[in-house]
Symmetry: C2
Subunit: 387 residues, 2 copies
């Protein structure tokens, strides 16, 4: 078991109707608010009007139009400018992981004198960030309970995931009913994203009985509940269980004391969505079973045996490689069964830039130090197998 | 799934050798420290000298002699007096759950003008507490990661568990090597305490797939690792896994969104250790299987089936009451196998005060509102079956 240093200061306010606590929550941080959101789905939901009504009397500035795979330019830069010019006290992010990630980069940039890109690339470590409150509308990334953000810069094909301990949201307001209108495509992609967060932590050298059981339970819960959400988008319990499963995703609590895995699928997927702006969860679902097949070896097989028997109930008396193969096939089939396009070509990616992307990943993601190390050639082979 | 509002601000610094971070940790809170500890085992461990050496230059006051089932008088009162007279900045609790619980009551009492008993009995809600840093030497209560404390008052036979959100430790320093010298008796009792914390949350009306899996994994981990600790007290991995399993015990994370169970075994055990000052974990282990047997019914049986099949691997094709009976027998056998005396008479409790204790519990613990409600007669019957 590895040493660790862990703290999550975020307050989770979870459940139907909890938005009524918003005024009390916001009051503690100040009255000048930057409200951030995406393409307007929160207006269709009625959530925009509800927020404005609850915060009547506060001074609210707005940054809207934050895109999936949120962009440094214009969103982060524009948000930082708004915060600095208006002496914003607190950011209220209403949306999914992209809105929240963008808001984290803004919150740090607002209290930093230099170029906010310095913080994203660890050129410097931020000393403080504006407080962030979020109202989540998508179960997927776990950004509501972690210090991470992923920001894309179009002109350089960079999609950078980074951590900043100042970036934990102060309060996350999690009402599963706000996810009732999430499309089947985004529900499935959110499930795949959250499952991959867990797998990235599960497939490592050194884990504990507790962590393994916790993660196996989360994977099973995500599969059961995502299916229920797809069958009946307004199944409250299923939406709620899925939301909480996702919330723990990148917080670290699934794997305290585990050795580091390297998060290889995220490293590879970030190139796909940086170069082609695809849906992150779909990219992960496509890559994951191909990565599994590629790294299966005498060294890794026991981990796949545990995964296969405990998550999919595969007969433990079979040969270990047979169990592993079945586990990988079950992973693929599950993603396919919830409607995810399982080939890169289906999401508009062909072989033309595989070499370039593999090179970018090998240069930037440190996957040579992953649990199952990957060279540039390995990465290219996984991309090719995913076509 | 139930609504919840959850936040744990405690920083966990976990692993071998992490005490070297102590000076940096303490510095942020101030230089006037109240060092609290128990009967001197930390001196035998060398931990006392290590702490004094690391904090050389700070102004350290001491409260020693804190007993198991920590006492309001003299320990809490004396600690509060020391804090007030010396303008203490921070409490450093070195020991197990009793030292920590006592320190929590002191930390709150130090910033309260009235009788600290008001805070323990919810006569008033404290507005603030001194910060607490702890160095844990026993895996059991989970006090290192929760806002609760249990304080006993000898003259009234009160043993009161209460929560105060100001009482989360600021930092918990968790080095499993400090538990290498914990006796077999206390190792087993700590395991039973932690297992009961989980069972108190598991046996409820409404749980989630994730929580069930998390708790089942924790129960299995505790059983496996406690056996290893008993066989080889210096098995680092086993001590470490057991320590983390215990740490989550009363934090709420095992059951976010679950309905409230009423914590019936704790309600009953608190009377046993208030009247007879027995070891808390032993009292819990004795009561638990008798409580299970007493509440088993058509209404509760499905929960026992899940527990029995998932924790003990009992054949799920058997009749449901047969599974439940086997699960209860397995629970009893496990506790017995790790050396816990499984009858009240073995820990010095006879039938003479059962009526009085049952009355006290019925009056004070609200068990008529538990998942499986208990009357005074039920409580007396469970005590009698435990003799």
């Amino acid at each position: 078991m590895q040493n660790f240093d862990y703290q999550t200061p975020t307050r989770l306010i979870f459940g139907k109707g909890v938005i009524t606590k918003l005024p009390e929550v916001m009051k503690q941080f100040g009255s000048k608010i930057l409200l951030t959101y995406g393409g307007g789905s929160i207006k269709k939901l009625g959530l925009y009007d509800k927020v404005r009504e609850l915060l009547d009397g506060s001074e609210i500035f707005e940054l809207c139009g934050i895109q999936p795979n949120p962009k440094y330019d214009p969103s982060v830069l524009e948000g930082v400018r708004l915060c600095k010019e208006n002496n914003i006290d607190v950011i209220l992010a209403v949306g999914g992981g992209s809105v929240l990630d963008c808001s984290k980069a803004i919150a740090a940039g607002a209290l930093y004198d230099g170029d906010p890109w310095d913080l994203i690339t660890y050129k410097t470590i931020g000393k403080a960030s504006l407080p962030i409150v979020d109202i989540l509308t998508l179960a997927a990334t776990g950004s509501e309970y972690d210090p991470g953000a992923v920001i894309s810069r179009t002109e350089t094909n960079d999609k950078i995931g980074y951590m900043d301990s100042n970036n934990y949201p102060a309060v996350s307001i999690l009402d599963p009913t706000y996810t009732f209108t999430v499309s089947k495509k985004q529900t499935a992609a959110g499930c795949a994203d959250a499952m991959n967060h867990i797998m990235e932590q599960y497939f490592c050298e050194d884990s504990t009985l507790l962590n393994d059981g916790f993660m196996e339970a989360a994977l099973k819960s995500l599969m059961v509940n995502a299916r229920k959400c797809l069958d009946n988008p307004e199944d409250y319990t299923a939406r709620a269980e899925m939301m909480l499963d996702c919330t723990y995703g990148c917080n670290g609590i699934y794997s305290l004391g585990n050795s580091y895995s390297g998060w290889p699928c995220h490293g590879m997927e970030h190139a796909l969505s940086a170069y082609y702006d695809i849906t992150h969860g779909e990219g992960l679902a496509i890559i994951t079973p191909r990565w599994m097949k590629h790294i299966l070896s005498e060294k890794t097989v026991d981990r796949f045996v545990k995964y296969g028997t405990n998550v999919f109930g595969i007969d433990s008396t079979l040969d270990k490689f047979e169990i592993a193969d079945k586990a990988i096939a079950e992973t693929y089939s599950f993603f396919e069964s919830i409607g995810i396009p399982m080939h890169l070509k289906e999401v508009g990616i062909d072989e033309s830039r595989i070499g370039e992307m593999a090179h970018h990943v090998a240069e930037n993601e440190g996957l040579d130090k992953a649990w199952a190390p990957l060279t540039e050639q390995d990465i290219a082979a996984i991309f090719t197998a995913s076509l």
